[in-house]
Symmetry: C2
Subunit: 438 residues, 2 copies
């Protein structure tokens, strides 16, 4: 099957020559990306693009994960960049419907914020599973090793684990920066440890141990995902700008930004991609939402990422999107072939209600709705582009995530901001520390 | 316990006198709302406020729902206004974690868009449950009776149901406008039928049969919810503007809109309120996203609603919120008392990682994070208000939903748009019909 496809010509709000000319500004950045790729090391913040092809490290992660493929639950304790990637991939491949009886693989549970009701629910599931002899693996992921929410949830679940599972040390995997405080403690406590390379930021870490370990343990074909990522990296590092989807996509976002269009809606026509939307929301929110530009000038840059699900959100947001302010650029994502093929049964009595859908395939109806929306966007001069995923398979999800991460590095470059830091997060953290310390 | 509390003074970006003076413009609208309330009928689009106190109709809905309280699954087939209210309330009360083993009540399943993988998953669950003798109720909700996605999903599930459940007619409840085509068919097919009053729009219908039937069948204390709604209606219809939370909240949104601030982030510090956020997103998106104002002038009005979850999204959006453009007004919602009280256990070895959280209550940590964020918002001159929910109980959720629905009617009035219609949705529907018909 062909790769994922990015289309924008005639709908994105700019002429091809405007898009190319903006994208061409990226030449020096593409050069640096290629140098980072060539080095194969992790000395540069761009080097997250080296993760998928890092055979030694991938092998080591997958070997450890292989020990847990009999687990009933994979519990990821992490927040933000430490769990959004794993959540995005797992839901895209296995489906959002967590109670689906079809899956023989592990279920994933995500403990992120300090919500007492959520952690109690997860704790109950773990306790019951352990009592009935099922295997569980707990993966605590925190790059700094000191994330408040992650340590709090880890302490709560560790307490349950220690009471119910004598071999608990063997079922805990710590993923963190080498030489973080947590790393030292994990060594001392004889827990399994995996590393996130220092220069790889949380929102670019899905192909590091942060994503690979829990996904492999939960039965995801991680090798196919990495293969897809490597394929897409090739395209997105191309100097032939007209064939470089990341450069083109970044250029369009940049052109809209300069025109004052500062909302980007990711509109996914597939329920299982909602978490991919949340992953992208972090990627864009943190990477280009910046008080200062690279020269230190106050700019308050940023594009507000929103996530919509089709056709559901047409029944909630289409009125605003088609009638409201001209302040959005939309990126539709559609799936060409779903896992299941469903034909609408004919039922004579109900024909008058929806005469045109009976005996049709459900994907055909979804496509007709999307095409109808795109026609309405064109009539209303609402700019959009489209990403087409042949399937929600590991390979194409790997392509999608790599495409978007490189796009975001390019967008940072065009906007002249640092796409790798998040200095203002400290603004609230220091206030919270004061309150907790008092 | 006291009611939910709306706070804005000193943080919302406007002085009290500015807020009061904008809110005072609502006097004629408040007058009309009081008249609609006094009439007790459904002759006016404002009359959704009469639903909670409509004893006859509520009794009839609850009696029918009472027949299904032994159901293992309540399957709602509906989209937009036809399921967002039920989803919001169910998740707020019972929790998002659908696999929680603690609940003895029914689980709810939502079939909304025409996603072949989602409906296959729901179909599998239904088939397995019916085969093992469990009871299921299917509630198809469509005001017009002709919503494409709803009819498609209904046909697919009906097909399964007819094969596995001889008494299937008795387990199907149709909720629709009286005299829609679907109503006629349901009569002919001897299915249970419930009515949504004609003038009550989908996004204002949570206290009609659309919300009440499935929620009651799933074990929600609907009477408490309605009690909360009635309490809040009293406050929100008050002519004493300084004590009317809906009028004050609408006035602040309006003042920001006039200043060019056209993104409103609903930032919930509780995982289980994410669906309440999606419900509000529809309410705001459709109610004030308008091409034309009341006089027919093209205005492209609208505020883009976004939903954030604390503290999770601080690790994804805080950088943008604190460093990015000044284009947002934030409404924090916090929960004073969660269902569970969780203390962080002390574990000597881990103390160095997060010295200030051990032995603290988890709610206390969540509160410290929220207070830290609010302090950072104040330092950065980022405007916000706060809604405090004493608990995520039926009563307070009822209060919250009624507060927000009346707020939105007032906001429409201030913006001089019709908060009850959604004319531009037809723009894509007619295109889709062309494609499906071809």
């Amino acid at each position: 099957m062909a790769d994922i496809k990015f289309s924008y010509q005639g709908t994105c709000g700019f002429s091809n020559s405007e898009v190319y000319s903006a994208a061409k500004k990226l030449a020096p950045e593409i050069q640096m990306m290629n140098e980072a790729a060539k080095s194969g090391n992790y000395n540069d913040e761009r080097s997250s693009i080296n993760l998928p092809a890092d055979r030694g490290s991938v092998k080591c992660i997958l070997e450890l994960a292989g020990k847990f493929t009999n687990a009933e639950y994979v519990v990821v304790i992490g927040i933000g960049g430490s769990n959004l990637g794993a959540m995005a991939v797992f839901e895209a491949i296995k489906g959002r419907l967590c109670s689906s009886p079809s899956g023989s693989n592990a279920k994933m549970l995500f403990a992120d914020t300090v919500d007492p009701d959520s952690i109690t629910g997860i704790g109950d599931i773990i306790r019951n599973a352990l009592k009935s002899g099922k295997k569980i693996v707990i993966n605590a992921v925190t790059k700094s090793g000191t994330t408040t929410e992650t340590i709090a949830n880890f302490l709560v679940l560790l307490d349950i684990f220690k009471r119910c599972e004598p071999d608990y040390r063997n079922c805990i995997v710590i993923t963190t920066d080498r030489n973080s405080k947590l790393w030292e403690i994990a060594v001392r406590e004889k827990l399994h440890i995996l590393e996130i390379p220092g220069k790889v930021g949380g929102r670019y870490s899905v192909f590091s141990a942060a994503g690979l370990f829990p996904l492999k343990a939960a039965g995801i074909n991680v090798s196919d995902m990495l293969k897809g990522a490597i394929e897409m990296r090739g395209q997105c590092l191309s100097n032939d700008i007209e064939k470089n989807p990341a450069a083109l996509s970044a250029a369009i976002l940049y052109l809209h930004y300069r025109k004052g269009i500062r909302i980007n809606d990711s509109f996914f026509f597939a329920n299982d991609l909602e978490s991919a939307g949340k992953w992208y929301r972090q990627l864009m929110g943190e990477s280009v939402g910046k008080k200062n530009d690279l020269s230190g000038r106050a700019v308050n840059a940023g594009i507000t990422p929103t996530v919509s699900i089709g056709s559901t959100d047409l029944h909630s947001m289409a009125q605003l999107y088609l009638g409201g302010p001209y302040d959005k650029y939309t990126t539709f994502t559609r799936v060409q072939k779903f896992r299941n093929s469903v034909k609408i049964p004919s039922y004579r009595e109900l024909v008058p209600l929806a005469p045109k859908i009976q005996e049709k395939g459900m994907t055909e109806i979804m496509d007709a709705i999307l095409k109808g929306v795109q026609a309405a966007f064109r009539s209303g001069k609402r700019p959009y582009s489209e990403v087409m995923l042949p399937e929600k398979s590991e390979r194409y999800i790997g392509q999608l995530l790599q495409f978007k991460m490189i796009e975001m590095m390019y967008l940072g470059s065009l906007l002249e901001v640092n796409p790798f830091d998040q200095p203002n997060v400290e603004d609230y953290k220091k206030e919270t520390r004061k309150i907790l310390g008092g």
